[in-house]
């Protein structure tokens, strides 16, 4: 394809490792990637590799693929380093794209996270008052750990991002498609997608690819997934189970609804939608069979933010929670 191997880096911020597993799950394709590219960093950078990357000229990497959100000072530092050193920076997976599940932490104050972890839970050492510190002095040694920020950021709130690959994690075939699109663009065999594009996903709603049948039926009542055994053929939303399909980009293979489980939106919003959660609520409102605000409020589900912006709190119009 090209007369030289592409220089790529794969790195994670505040992440679970599932994105890296999704790349491994392309199985034999990994050997092709290895053939086409020099993997300068994968899947996790070490200090030595930070130094190696720091020693590179600016934009020496063709592509940096970063998964995970930005939760602490180290995540931010490396995100900025990779931005400087790469021509193309890809936000890979829901956390880098929208904040992801770790972004739910923006709904609670940082202090309460520490309280719960270190001061108030049933398995702590009796009487513990110790809380980990960014800098601690032990036996005369100074020991440092990264600073834990007050909120979680999605990648493009910290650095400029060229492309986004959605999914928690991205499906392996979509991962493959995204990598091939980048390789095609870099080697000049296919046009580069416009900057800011979502690659490795469709432009239409999940419902369009869902095999469940819809009757354009209005709903009078919501059920939580544990309360009923849904009909295996019919639309989950029309059976009263909140499903994020109408407000979510397709591309995942509809794996959750096909297994009888409602979508929670990991592939992110449809094109040109600012807030996925707001879009979902407006879609749900349009199928609600009531005009009475109080009745609707009664029938609404608990934890609207946690359903509607499950993967996208840092990307949403919601602000982080503050303690007064």
């Amino acid at each position: 394809v090209a007369d030289r191997k592409f220089q790529i880096a794969i790195y994670w911020g505040a992440a679970c490792g599932g994105c890296d597993v999704s790349i491994l799950d392309t199985n034999e394709f990994i050997l092709d990637v290895d053939r086409l590219c020099d993997i300068r960093l994968w899947p996790i950078a070490a200090d030595g590799k930070y130094k190696d990357i720091e020693a590179l000229p600016e934009a020496a990497l063709d592509v940096a693929i970063m998964n995970g959100a930005v939760r602490n000072s180290e995540n931010e530092h490396i995100a900025k380093l990779l931005r400087r050193k790469s021509k193309i920076l890809v936000a890979y997976g829901s956390c880098a794209y929208m904040g992801g599940i770790p972004g739910l932490a923006n709904l609670v104050p940082r202090e309460e996270i520490f309280e719960r972890a270190y001061l108030n839970n049933p398995s702590l050492e009796p009487g513990n008052r110790t809380i980990p510190q960014a800098e601690a002095s032990v036996n005369g040694y100074t020991l440092a750990i990264p600073k834990f920020y007050h909120r979680v950021y999605k990648l493009d709130q910290v650095v400029d991002v060229d492309y986004y690959v959605p999914g928690c994690p991205p499906q392996p075939d979509q991962c493959k498609a995204a990598i091939l699109a980048l390789v095609g663009a870099l080697s000049g065999t296919s046009p580069a997608p416009p900057k800011g594009s979502v690659v490795g996903a469709s432009d239409h709603a999940l419902c369009q690819d869902c095999k469940r049948t819809r009757a354009e039926k209005k709903i009078r009542c919501f059920y939580r997934p544990w309360e009923i055994i849904p009909d295996p053929e019919k639309c989950l939303l029309e059976q009263g189970i909140l499903c994020a399909g109408p407000a979510t980009r397709s591309g995942c293979g509809v794996r959750c609804p096909s297994s009888g489980i409602p979508c929670r939106g990991c592939y992110g919003p449809l094109p040109n939608v600012v807030d996925q959660g707001a879009k979902l609520l407006s879609a749900v409102a349009s199928v609600l069979d009531s005009k009475d605000a109080e009745e609707i409020a009664r029938k609404m589900l608990p934890d609207v933010a946690g359903y509607a912006n499950r993967y996208s709190v840092p990307a949403s119009l919601l602000q982080r929670s503050h303690r007064r």
């Binding site: 505040a14 679970c16 490792g17 599932g18 994105c19 890296d20 597993v21 999704s22 790349i23 491994l24 799950d25 199985n27 050997l31 290895d34 300068r40 994968w42 899947p43 996790i44 950078a45 070490a46 200090d47 030595g48 590799k49 130094k51 190696d52 939760r71 602490n72 770790p102 739910l104 932490a105 709904l107 609670v108 309460e112 996270i113 309280e115 719960r116 270190y118 398995s123 702590l124 050492e125 513990n128 809380i131 980990p132 601690a136 032990v138 040694y141 020991l143 750990i145 834990f148 939580r224 997934p225 544990w226 055994i229 959750c256 297994s259 009888g260 489980i261 589900l301 934890d303 946690g306």
Partner: protein
């Protein structure tokens, strides 16, 4: 004059790990710290969420062992609904989990453990990775490894709808059953996995046990700790990964305690140090005694070897033979040689493969009664499974509407946090001596100590490069006097 060596990061546990080694003026190890610099706050931010959503949220604690968190969460949620669960769902969850084990153990054994043994602990770091392993044992085997791990993932996808980031469990059971045509699809793969596991054991015997130098490192190297063992067992004290009681046995083989999931907080407590975000679990009744070994120690390991140490026997016949063979080679049961964890992982996979075969023959497995709709919310549950990397505890409470009011998690690798500190110090002290500048081989041998635990930070090497990059700085008066790095 204190000098400092930093290994930063070694690799990850939900982020990164970092080792600081402080040397005295003569160059002897004075102290070491293994720091975990990350926290994400799951225990707090799941509060206020509908309780049945938790099993599909907590999977994001770890995308390498999401099924462990999914199942521990599902069992904790079952508890919140009074533990009314369709019996077939327990079977299917267990079957699913055996496939998950095989996927994870294959990745660990070939990508992480094998380079140190197939190529040697101090071999050229440029090829001391899974590609180097493939080059040595042959591309055919490399392809077989990729295929076997892929099949184990695919079996999970067919049974539970997805593999990475599971969604399948609901209160009272699972969302979908296994159709006869799906069973027919996975049955030949199960046979292939069974054969692959046998092959892996043979490879281990030829390459590792066939080399007296390796056997010497395993049995006589510094990789030993006098701490106890924890693991989940069934009613016959055989390992069970999905359910049972937690058994703790001391390093002489005497049972310290055996408890049901809902009694966990009476038996385990967590110590906090200011220099790491990760807590240090210990046996509550013995109290926190610092990082100390010995028969009265309150510390324990929760690893594949620990699981076999607490087990009186295996649950399946082939695994039993392999278990007996392993302990007789190692000089008896239980065993403290941490590097034997790599062998224990293979013995566990034999049980996983035999159990998968057994489920494939079970005439009930394709039944359709896979979930009951719970009739009451009782408000509290503790779910314990054996994650690949240690005993995993999820404890949830909810209100009368089923909204989460609290969550407490003791994650697999966390159990091993204190032993990892200790083995790092022990190996560093044994290998870094006055007048000996630590080279990459020595640093790799330090890493081999914690790598035996397959701590979640070893996810780094669950990838093809298979190599944890290292950067080492030796400082005197704040100035770097010696610097080298090991590339990935």
């Amino acid at each position: 004059m204190i000098r400092k060596i930093s290994i930063d990061p070694v690799t990850r546990l939900e982020g990164h790990g970092k080792i600081e080694i402080f040397l005295d003026g003569n160059g002897a190890v004075q102290d070491t710290f293994f720091q975990i610099p990350e926290l994400r706050g799951f225990e707090r931010f799941v509060v206020g969420r509908p309780i049945e959503e938790l099993p599909r949220i907590v999977t994001r604690i770890c995308g390498v062992c999401p099924a462990s968190h999914h199942l521990a969460g599902a069992k904790a949620v079952d508890g919140c609904f009074g533990n009314e669960v369709a019996p077939l769902a327990h079977k299917l969850r267990d079957m699913y989990y055996h496939a998950h084990y095989i996927h994870s153990h294959i990745a660990h054994f070939y990508a992480l453990a094998a380079p140190d043994f197939v190529l040697g602990p101090t071999s050229d770091p440029a090829t001391r990775n899974v590609l180097g392993v493939v080059a040595k044992v042959g591309l055919k085997i490399g392809g077989a490894v990729i295929a076997a791990r892929g099949k184990a993932q695919e079996i999970q996808r067919i049974i539970g709808g997805r593999n990475t980031q599971d969604i399948w469990c609901l209160p009272g059971g699972v969302a979908k059953g296994l159709k006869p045509e799906e069973l027919a699809q996975i049955r030949p793969w199960v046979d292939e996995l069974y054969d692959f596991v046998q092959f892996s054991l043979k490879l281990f015997k030829d390459v590792v046990l066939g080399n007296p130098a390796y056997v010497d490192i395993i049995l006589n190297g510094p990789y030993k700790l006098d701490v106890h063992s924890m693991g989940l067992v069934d009613e016959n004290n055989a390992p069970n990964f999905y359910r049972g009681k937690v058994r703790v046995v001391d390093f002489e083989g005497k049972e310290i305690c055996k408890y049901s999931p809902n009694e966990y907080a009476q038996h385990v407590a967590e110590h906090v140090e200011p220099w790491s975000y990760l807590k240090f679990p210990y046996l509550r009744k013995r109290g926190w005694k610092g990082f100390t070994e010995g028969i009265d120690s309150s510390l324990y390991c929760a690893t594949p070897l620990a699981r076999l140490n607490v087990a009186d026997r295996m649950a399946t016949p082939q695994a039993q033979e392999r278990y007996e063979e392993m302990f007789s080679t190692l000089g008896g049961h239980p065993c403290r040689a941490l590097l034997a964890n790599h062998w224990a992982r293979l013995v566990e996979m034999v049980q996983n493969a035999e159990m998968l075969k057994r489920y494939c023959q079970d005439p009930e497995i394709t039944g359709d009664k896979v979930r009951v709709v719970p009739q009451k919310i009782t408000g509290e549950g503790v779910g314990i499974v054996e994650a690949m990397r240690g005993t995993l505890t999820h404890h949830y409470t909810c209100d009368e509407r089923g909204i989460c009011t609290s969550a407490n998690l003791i994650v697999g690798t966390t159990n091993n946090n204190a032993p990892i500190q200790m083995v790092t110090r022990k190996v560093a002290s044994a290998l870094i001596k006055p007048g000996v500048e630590p080279d990459q081989g020595i640093l790799n041998m330090i890493e081999m100590g914690f790598r035996a635990f397959d701590p979640c930070y070893s996810c780094a090497t669950h990838s093809l490069p298979g190599q944890m990059p290292l950067d080492v700085r030796v400082l005197r008066d704040g100035k770097v006097i010696h610097h080298f790095r090991r590339p990935a």
